[in-house]
């Protein structure tokens, strides 16, 4: 499909996501609802991957770029945090490392146990 049409299709899904959040009052962000809607559209084959492939690759390949403006917003809390700045940074980094390691290790063990059971069965 032509690129602009692909974009229009993706943006329509975002429109539905926003609609579900704002008008229907579903307590999930529009972005997440849009992801869910697109997932359901793909599963039911109403939308085919080929119909949005190039445009979705465009976004997926440079995902961090779109998160830069909210990131720069951390300048705004510089004044609010003041003395707590170092503690704040260290705590965020430390908690992330522990969460990532523990989540990954537990999932890894469970996946291997499950695969081993399937093999044995």
């Amino acid at each position: 499909m032509r690129l602009l049409l692909q974009l229009a299709l993706i943006l329509s899904v975002c429109f539905i996501g926003d609609f579900l959040h704002r008008v229907c009052g579903i307590p999930l962000p529009g972005n997440i609802l849009a992801m869910l809607v697109l997932f359901l559209l793909l599963c039911t084959k109403i939308v085919k991957v080929e119909q949005i492939e190039e445009m979705s690759n465009f976004f997926l390949k440079r995902l961090p770029f779109f998160f830069l403006p909210p990131t720069i917003g951390i300048l705004a809390v510089y004044g609010v945090l003041k003395g707590n700045l170092l503690v704040f940074f260290l705590l965020c980094i430390f908690a992330t490392i522990v969460t990532l390691a523990l989540t990954g290790k537990i999932t890894d063990i469970l996946v291997h146990v499950q695969e081993k059971r399937k093999k044995d069965a």
Binding site: F59, L68, G73, L91, L100, A101
Partner: protein, 230 residues
Amino acid sequence: MHDVLNTPFFGIVLTIVAYEIGVACSRKFKFAICNPMMIAAVLIIGFLMITGIELETYNLGGDYISIFLGPATAVLAVPLYKQLNQLKAHLFPILIGILVGCFTSFAVVSLSASLFHIDDVLHLSLLPKSITIPMGVELSKSIGGIPAITIASIVITGITGGVVAPIICKVCKIKHPVAQGIAVGTASHAVGTAKALEMGEVQGAMSSLAIGVTGVLTSIITPILLHWIA
């Protein structure tokens, strides 16, 4: 003099240039610390601080880029759909893993807060740090945190996740791509997911899934746990 910059094009061009420099650096130096997003953020923040240009001036352009966070998040459904088989095959470990992550994040933040005598508002603002920004802001408001601090903690968490993910997977011997993806998505939402997509399609898909599930679970269990420890 800053009137010259009162146009959206300033923020947009600055962001693109900083991002491309970040990408070029990360390709040239293959260290984990050379994360394109982190380099770009440091460049933009440094530039604004040195020149004294206001955040509002930058956001004239930045807001246009932020609009596309919607479609950029929505298309995460594509890798997830392509890896539907992995999801079906490993549903149980995936859900348990994400649940463990939600509790871990809560426990580490709360324990550190009481250990280092961090004040309550800062503690509450930090609790939603592993979930995606719109969900984190709502949770922060409902438990009595400051949304601006929550956003900052979410951003730092995301960048940290992207930088440390490959190192931690290696050190802790987290080998299965499903486990790697779930770890990154649960700990560091969509910003970390960008790194997971680089690690592989399975990792990217599982990380995308974890963003939504972690957001919902954290929003539910955080008020309950707070009530319980109070």
